[in-house]
Symmetry: C2
Subunit: 298 residues, 2 copies
């Protein structure tokens, strides 16, 4: 039976899957080591678990990555703070390991595709998929198509108001200090409070600040992208009380200026958790593989 291979390439682990969708997906997790060594292990997994049935591979990668086929650095990871991976030709290395079509996009774009196919964004043409984990990333569909443009969105790096009197933490982003990721990612939470996000008590002052920053960012995306839903997952969002805090703040910050039921009366179904959990990325990579197979992309 024809199957596809999906790679969710993350800074901590590579989640690899074989199958065609939610029903038959088999996955494994490979720790992210030196690039070449990691790719060898990925290739071993696909060879042993799919063999000749494998028809195409999809990669949803951490970034920034170069998605422009006309560019000299097409297929590479570019300005990442992870030194060993900077300028690594991930697409080229996977293509070299297999003589198959390979699809390539960001991890969050892949996850957005999967949530649109099987999850919380089923049937939606205009939505945002956001992940708040170690870092913050987002993908978005507009009129049913992923945003790419000049490169791809880097939504975690927008600037939001940062009241230094209330929150003197300078921010954790190595490129921008107090961009959204620098203020509200899991890494920022750990640096600011000295405690990992999953161990901060529910009544810790961290959480109202966290909800404020994420709500400010969501308001900016509502005003810019006019989505019909925001699907937000990732490790930090496992603290479920954040959802109601964020929703309340988004409605308050918009203050009736977007006079639509979705962001006022129906905010509970406007800002929602993903339905595919931590499988969204690898399932999206399967969709990238399927698309590459159909279009015959090298």
């Amino acid at each position: 039976m024809d199957v596809f291979g999906g790679i969710e390439a993350g800074g901590t682990k590579f989640v690899c899957g074989v199958g065609t969708g939610t029903a038959d997906l088999r996955t494994t997790s490979i720790p992210t080591e030196q690039p070449e060594r990691t790719i060898v292990k990925v290739a071993e997994f696909f060879r042993s678990s799919a063999g000749q049935d494998l028809k195409a591979i999809g990669i949803g990668s951490f970034g920034p990555i170069d998605l422009d086929p006309r560019s000299e650095t097409f297929g590479r990871i570019t300005a990442t703070p992870k030194q060993a991976w900077r300028n690594f030709d991930i697409l080229g290395q996977v293509r070299q390991a297999f003589n198959l079509p390979v699809g390539f996009d960001t991890d969050v774009n892949a996850a957005a595709l999967a949530e649109a196919e099987w999850g919380a964004a089923r049937g939606l043409k205009d939505f945002i998929y956001l992940t708040v984990g170690t870092g913050i990333g987002g993908g978005a569909c507009v009129n049913g198509k992923l945003i790419h443009g000049l490169m791809h969105p880097e939504m975690g790096h927008i600037r939001v108001p940062h009241d230094l009197a209330a929150d003197p933490f300078p921010g954790s982003c190595s490129y921008h200090h107090d961009c959204l990721e620098g203020l509200a990612s899991g890494q920022a939470l750990r640096q600011r409070w000295g405690i990992p996000a999953d161990q901060l008590p529910a009544d810790h002052q961290a959480w109202s600040l966290e909800a404020d920053y994420l709500a400010l960012a969501m308001v900016n995306w509502v005003c810019t992208l006019s989505p019909t839903r925001i699907v937000v997952g990732g490790g930090v969002m496992q603290r479920e009380f954040l959802f109601s805090m964020i929703r309340r703040q988004v409605t308050r910050l918009l203050n009736g200026y977007i006079p639509r039921r979705a962001v006022i009366q129906e905010i509970d179904s406007f800002i929602v958790p993903p339905e595919l959990g931590n499988r969204a990325g690898v399932l999206g990579a399967i969709l990238l593989a399927r698309e590459a197979y159909r279009s015959g992309a090298g």
Copy 2:
């Protein structure tokens, strides 16, 4: 000869045009008074200048407006601070005055269409059109199509960092105080400094602050929409020195994280003025009319 009618509906004036494009456009300007009275004058202009040749009308309106045909308030101006116009059924009134197809979108979406057809965004599929005048508004194309989604973008109302120590002005937006429009619109400049933007000296401290806010907003849109160009016009941008100040700040704020020539080496052709000047809105309305005519929209 078949011609189209375009209405750029603004808070100060309605610019009406008759023609098919840049070569044959004839325009008039009608001061914005009470809604019904204004529409009567608009109708008189089209009857006297086009008569039976008029095949369709397009409206590019200030907003927010309701663009959802399934909505009860479809075709209306909604949450505007302009009391007399709030909930005014602009589309319905124009349809009633003429038995013709009528196209309807925001003023900035219309202007974006015109710049893509004849101006500074010719041939581009992913770009932003921004106007910084009395208010701040933006339209954007993604994969060659305007963003609509839940409603339409309200890009002027994003939140950006506001250092109250450096700039104690509380902001002029009646909905959000210090959103971008509240900090950097022509109205904000006049309220903060007591002098209209066009009379502020070039060496006034207002301008570095203005460039900072606009650059912060553009960085947010680059990170969210990944445009290949930002076309920015409007009254405030007539102060041409702002362009180089904004470009410098955008490159500095991105700090190499978007490793693309467009936002580093080629920033001068990334952030550019419009080519259609103050005709972009009405020319865009002509395009909305053409589209309504082709699709037979009522």
